[in-house]
Amino acid sequence: MVDEQGERAESMEAGQSGHLHPISILIREITQIFDELGFSVAHGPEIESEFYNFDALNFPPDHPSRDLQDTFWIKGERGNVLRTQTSPIQVRYMETHEPPFRLIASGRTFRNEATDATHDVQFYQCEGLLVDDRTSLAELKGTLDHFLKRLFGDDVETRLRPGFFPFVEPGVEVDMRCMRCSSDGCSACKQSGWIEVLGAGMVHPNVLNASGVDWRKWRGFAFGIGLDRLAMLRWGIDDIRSLYAGDLRVINQF
């Protein structure tokens, strides 16, 4: 009887599909959008050298800009860190490719900060880079507008405002109209009606220089997006840690 029950149950569930992790869903959607624009997929290691994670990205040694990213260091491996951002992939790609190029890279990143519902020690970023001889901030804006419209629908409203990331100059942050409150102001948008979704800018000549790209000839733009935050916004997930709990009560909703 037990076996029979088991078989029945199994047969009843046969054909049921499994579920992709929500971050995987986002990575696929984003990659699809940028693949169509000619961005090549790239990837890199999670343990990075200080050179790729900081120096080449124009974070000077012993500089307060490094405090913006609380870093995990690897024991007994001087100068090795858990990457705090996916941007090292940019540098690795530039070192090994001749411009012009476009790349899109997603991956796990790490920050040594106290965890709560919106912060975890690990999270995902997606990184884009375009280098050619004529690109501009206006093209960056157009690219990100296109991307966010594809991801969230044509009526998404975005704005660019100044931001600071050592590896870009000018640097911008991209906000989206808050979807939760339709810009009336809520906890998700800190009452501002806008939600920060992307950091971006024109690649700093120092980064091109460190990556062996002749910045007299080539210009680039780059952007980075926090995928956990995006997932939380899009689906109303209230605790980032639930993404890494291995809990099918969460995953099977996707």
Binding site: G6, R8, A9, M12, E13, S17, G18, L20, S24, R28, T31, L37, G38, S40, V41, A42, H43, P45, E46, I47, H63, P64, L68, F72, W73, I74, E77, L82, F101, N112, V121, L130, S136, L137, A138, G142, T143, D145, R159, P162, F164, E169, P170, G171, H204, P205, N209, D214, R216, W235, I237, D238, S242, G246, D247, L248, V250, I251, N252, Q253
Partner: protein, 786 residues
Amino acid sequence: MKVSYHWLQTYFDTDIPKPADLVDVLTMHAFEIEDVTETENDTLIDVDILPNRAHDCLSHRGIAREIALLTGNTLVPPERSYTGETIEADIAVSVADSALCPRYMARTLTGVSVGASPEWLKKTLEGLGERSINNIVDLTNFVLFDTGQPLHAFDADKVDGNMIYVRPAEEGETITLLDGAEATFQGGELVIADEKEPLAIAGVKGGTKAEVDESTTRVILESANFDATHVRKTARTHNINTDASKRFENEITPELVRVAMEELTALIAQLSGNESVEVSEVVDAYPRKPRARRVGVSVSETNATLGTQLTEQDIIDICSRLSFAPIVVAEPASQVIEEAEAYLDAPYEHGASVTYDAPEKFDCSSFVAFCYAQAGIGVPRISVDQYAFGEAIAQDELAPGDILFFNSGTGKVHYETKEFLPGTEVSEGIDHCALYAGNGHIIHASWSNGVVVKESLSESDLTDALVGCRRMPQSAESRIVTTIPHERIDVRRDVDLIEEIGRVRGYANLESNVPAQTERSEIDAQFYYAQLIRTHLCENGFSELYLYSFTETGKRKILNPLSPDKKALRTQLAPQVADALTINLRNSDLLGTDTVSVFEIGHVFAKEEEYMACAIAVACKKAAGGKKHARTILDDTVSHLETTLGAKTEGTITEHESGAIYEFNLDKAVENLGEPADYDKVLSTSEVVSHYVTPSPYPFVVRDIAVWVPQSTRVEDVSAFIQTHAGDLLAREPRLFDAYEKDEHISYAFRLVFQSYEKTLTDEEVNGYMDAVYGAVEAQKGWEVR
């Protein structure tokens, strides 16, 4: 940094925009605003100042300058400089290393009376979250928040001797700090000391020895500038972070020292209220004054970078608003020579700094870099880099402003670049450079002459050492050249200026252009196959987990772990996947399955090696065949996957009490797989959820029910009927786990799961819901609870 709206208003005679509008303007053109708090009679705005603007904007003065820039209100700084009489300085200052302390200014004030601060001062500081201590200390803080310059006051009568020493600490020296803590120096940390012992950790925190208190009548005021990196290291070593160390760490201009000193002096003299305060002249140790930086841009490169159509006048207007004193240099190359001619006979010094030594002294390449900077063109500092940076031209193409490079054998000959595309080979070897002045003449800072000279190239000793000629990029086009105010340490080069132009103009009306489509240049096989595996496993009922990279033990460990159970990196996926199997089996009723099928694809960290692994796992409850059956499913799954991939994988099995996990090295597997053509088949998503529901933190309760119904009754109808009558706390649709036919009747057995989002359900409560179901079923004609 928190700023007071009223304080900001004191910088203007005109009304600045209301707080809400101010926040909008600052957000769109300058800074992110963290928070706005209304207080009884003020509004506090918490401005997020990041390292690029921490040089000039960690102060009310800095924010006020931004407001003036962005709103058009004219900045009218309150006149707070001390204008009274001074007596001769009665102290002296000794600075051991001006690299660590570029400027130290001090003066004494005699006849001050220390006491409680007046109400306005108390309120102002308390508004910013600062504790009031006494009038003198509060005023040093007030001037800090006003100007951004940290200051300190010492009780002069407690200082031994008349000399203030700025020197490295000896190893083992100690100091008692103002908060009572003891600090022992490692040696090398810069301290402010009297002839006996340290009085303060320079730029970080004061000590108790010369603490200002109620009995103080004579103070030494300090306004100084300390090296950013040194202060940062010292603050880290002693784990002390103060308003002072934060500002020094971010580098502030030594030019601010006097402004703040005069303001503090005026305020103390004014507050002490009596004519009897004697103010000494300042002593000012300031050996190397930085030169105001020149930065230029062309209209075309500005527009090309921003994607705008700004005119020369637009750019000049914005630079004027920024107080960057723009001028137009129509012919930069001629300007370079004009500059060069002006410094003939300036002394030569090897390694002379462009920022601090020019135009008093030069070496060959600092002379070239300086003359170009004056014309608004940034070129590398070192001659070998200048050589690689410039465009090669023939000697007969030389025009004024071009650069000649030599391998004279008199200096150190460089064969590869240092800073411009570091490591680029320059086989010719470079040790000297000179500007071409026209008519066969060169101007150069000459080691052999000891000064900047103009001479005929053909008659020069260098003629035979000529290696090549270069024309600097951008030297042919008209440039807008600005002189950057000292406090704007962040504006160093063309792109920094372009950013200023862009953000002042605003990004709201920037055009939005999508770049022309191109073909992707390559396919990432790892990404492709990881996606292919995801698709394959999902189609076969497996759900994807993302678990933590951190574990308690592993081959590669974290130097600074967040918690003891996260002090290493995972060497394989299986152990955590096994835990996930256990957890999810416990929830199997809630999940509506007796079989848990999951996978993870993620990085693991074996010794020295990091790779992408894939773990596939199945566990079955006893009812579904248990461990044995799970293993069968797993083996089938792996074999199907290998068919899909077109190759075998080499993995290992990890046992679980109710199943097993198969894990393999995905990077290695990919090496044996073909080059994919595109991502078309592997990027599809089928989104089912529109809004996510957080799982309840409370336990669920399971009840089974079997119902006899006529054979003609459809199982879906029975299920729906039960669902309707089970109440709102039924966590999922009833799950059929048995069907049994007899005498034209059929028995359907369902499992019901109840769960509340608000509390733990009691048996009685659930019994109540079941009674409602029983009652409703019994009331149906021909239905019967079994």
